[in-house]
């Protein structure tokens, strides 16, 4: 029983961690390229979830097959999140590329407020039940108590997505261009990289990942409202910083550390301080590693 409990918590931590990772990757990629905390990233996640809700809501009225609904809904969520991400960048961040960091941060906060209230006004402030899009299938007895099919799907999807992303960044032409842009933007231009395109692609990928996270978790939790993005966003942001913002493996590691900390904290201590565990571990790690777990130490040239 004791060991069971341990594994249950571990799985729950991993599930959480995967979701954080999907969102945190967006933060970290954007940060890597434009050195900006995209505070509105959580809202992109929320918009993804809402789009999926709307699409599946409409489609289910026509009695479509759930698997198709799921596929169409998640595609729509990805497309729309990406579109919002790119538009967000064009409106709120592109004009501020040369501005001080704080200006861009405030602009991002403004956008976050705007998007929350946009969805609140255009849709509703109520929690809406989110259709169960993830197919349920039964695990055998001992496994069943440790991990649910939902959790399993979340873990698998996240892993696949992350492996794909890693390959993309490491080997593709665009991936290389992204890395080059993140290291020296002006120089990237001088070798012929269209940085506007690279920045847009970064926002597209980051937003698409957030949308996947949004759909998976909403389907798992079963309901959404306009505010889900803010909370998840802050957590993912913490995860990204924990791992070393700008570092892609860092974001993943940070997310899992965060997810597992929260899960074990809840399980063995108390869920009263669930959020506090996240923040405490962040502070502790940053005290000892001021640029995060895998962050590159930015030693300023003197």
């Amino acid at each position: 029983m004791k060991l069971d409990f341990f594994f249950q918590l571990l799985m729950s931590g991993l599930t959480r961690g995967s979701i954080y990772a999907l969102i945190a990757l967006g933060y970290t990629m954007v940060y890597g390229i434009v050195k900006l905390i995209n505070f509105a990233h959580g809202e992109i996640y929320m918009i993804g979830a809402f789009t999926a809700l709307i699409v599946s809501g409409v489609l289910s009225m026509y009695g479509m097959n759930p698997v198709f609904i799921f596929l169409i809904a998640i595609t729509a969520a990805i497309i729309y999140s990406a579109a919002y991400g790119v538009t967000l960048e064009k409106i709120a961040y592109a004009p501020l590329r040369k501005a001080p960091r704080l200006s861009a941060l405030i602009s991002a906060i403004g956008m976050s407020m705007f998007l929350q209230n946009y969805v609140l006004l255009a849709q509703t402030s109520d929690f809406l039940p989110f259709p169960e899009l993830l197919p349920e299938f039964g695990f055998l007895d001992p496994v069943k108590f440790i991990i649910s099919t939902n959790q399993f799907l979340i873990l698998v999807t996240t892993t696949v997505v992350m492996v794909l992303l890693t390959f993309f960044i490491k080997f593709s032409r665009t991936g290389k261009a992204m890395r080059a842009t993140s290291q020296d933007r002006d120089m990237a231009q001088l070798v012929g990289i269209n940085i506007n395109k690279v920045i847009s692609i970064t926002f597209v990928i980051g937003s698409a990942l957030a949308a996947i996270g949004g759909v998976l978790i909403s389907s798992h939790i079963g309901q959404i409202n306009f505010y889900i993005g803010f909370i998840a966003g802050i957590k993912a942001f913490v995860a990204a910083v924990l791992g070393g913002i700008g570092s892609i493996p860092g974001a993943v590691l940070g997310s899992f550390v965060l997810g597992i900390t929260e899960s074990f904290g809840t399980g063995y201590i108390s869920s009263d301080y669930e959020d506090a565990f996240a923040f405490v571990i962040l502070i502790v790690i940053l005290i000892f590693k001021p640029s995060g777990l895998l962050g590159r130490k930015v030693s300023e040239k003197v």
């Binding site: 029983m1 069971d4 409990f5 249950q8 918590l9 799985m11 729950s12 931590g13 599930t15 959480r16 979701i19 954080y20 609140l120 402030s125 109520d126 929690f127 809406l128 039940p129 069943k144 108590f145 649910s148 939902n150 959790q151 978790i217 798992h220 939790i221 079963g222 309901q223 409202n225 306009f226 505010y227 889900i228 909370i231 998840a232 957590k235 929260e262 899960s263 809840t266 399980g267 108390s270 869920s271 009263d272 669930e274 959020d275």
Partner: protein, 374 residues
């Protein structure tokens, strides 16, 4: 210098604008009644039904020629459920010359506003603020409510748990003032009675992306029942995930969950859930009338606390009528000494301000509906 001038101008204009906005026309003819609660933001759905209730009653009264020929005018102010905003909202209502206030909705906002009303000799009737000290502390003689306080509800809940024979109980809450307050009372009663063991007492985090950790914890605590203090969004997340894990533990909750939305959101997983709520008065003719009026006017079913707000408004109108006055002392006296027919039944108010005749019952979700258990 230009800068100074601009600064001066900005200050002047803002101040002037506010002054103008707040000093509206003053017609002694109407009776102004304040309606306060969250009308925007994430808690708006708890506040807006109260506006509608007040509007319906006011329209009806006005259609009959008002109270002694004086029309009712509603002054509606948003407090977003925030104490700091509620203090300003209260000041605004006082400044607008209302004779009484229907509201506020959240206990925290209510507490922060009541001080202002007390100093200005105004009374408030809340349809939803259930925090016990509001009436029991004696600090707010001007406070009334048409809903039973949390401790009364907790007592009903715990008694029901005993009756069902639960021995190990997990008490959870959503860390909010309502949910945690309710859970605290349940805990206190359980600890005092020693008839059942509290195997878990914890707050869950609203908005978390996953609840499996806490659910695993409930499972491993060996509880045979969960008492949850909080609102329906969290409750439906909990129950859904518990049921998906095939956990057959009884789920008991409070008035925040006794809401049809809960059943719709949680769907099939809601079956069998217990929740306490005000004694069912839906068969009360006045309640039927009120709901119908709402459906006619707004084309949908009323939302949370509508009936309580309707009752509060009726009680207030009646008090003004009976006392034939809008003075504070007369009104409070009238509220305490007269029974009035409302959708909640025949009610009056005790010395502390709690409604007499308003109580709690336990409901269970059966076939997709809340059914009162006798």
């Amino acid at each position: 210098m230009k800068r100074m001038a601009k600064f001066f101008l900005v200050a002047l204009v803002s101040v002037a604008a506010i002054t103008f906005v707040s000093c509206g026309k003053k017609e002694a003819e109407t009776i102004k009644i304040g309606v306060a609660g969250p009308h925007s933001g994430d808690l708006a759905s708890y506040g807006i039904p109260t506006i509608k209730a007040a509007e319906l009653v006011a329209e009806e009264v006005n259609a009959k020629g008002g109270i002694d020929g004086r029309m009712i005018e509603l002054v509606i102010e948003d407090d977003v459920c925030k104490p700091e905003v509620a203090a300003n909202t209260a000041a605004k209502l006082v400044g607008d010359g209302v004779v009484a206030v229907i509201g506020h909705i959240c206990s925290g906002a209510t507490k922060s506003a009541m001080g202002t009303y007390l100093d200005s000799e105004l009374l408030a009737i809340s349809p939803s603020a259930t925090n016990p000290p509001l009436t029991q502390s004696g600090d707010y003689p001007n406070f009334f409510r048409t809903i039973a306080p949390d401790d009364a509800q907790a007592a009903v809940e715990v008694a029901f748990a005993y009756a069902q024979g639960y021995k190990k109980i997990a008490v959870l809450h959503d860390k909010g003032d309502y949910g945690k307050g309710f859970a605290e009372f349940c805990k206190a009663i359980l600890e005092a009675d020693k008839k059942a063991e509290i195997v878990l007492y914890e707050g869950i985090t609203p908005g978390a992306v996953d609840y499996t950790a806490i659910i695993n914890k409930i499972a491993s605590s060996g509880a045979d029942a969960v008492i949850f203090g909080g609102y329906h969004p969290e409750a439906s997340k909990l129950i859904t995930q518990m049921k998906k894990k095939d956990m057959n533990i009884a789920f008991l909750s409070d008035d925040g969950v006794k809401d049809d939305t809960f059943i719709k959101v949680a769907g099939e997983y809601a079956e069998g859930v217990y929740a306490t709520g005000p004694i069912d008065t839906s068969s009360n003719p006045l309640a039927i009338k009120a709901v119908k009026a709402h459906q006619d006017k707004y084309g949908e079913d009323p939302g949370a606390f509508f009936i309580n707000a309707y009752a509060a408004m009726l009680a207030l109108v009646n008090a003004i009528d009976v006392a034939n006055s809008t003075e504070y002392a007369d009104l409070t006296n009238a509220l305490r000494s007269n029974y009035v027919d409302t959708p909640l039944g025949k009610i009056s108010f005790d010395e502390k301000g709690d409604a007499i005749g308003v109580g709690f019952a336990v409901y269970q979700v059966q076939n997709g509906q809340y059914v009162e258990l006798k």
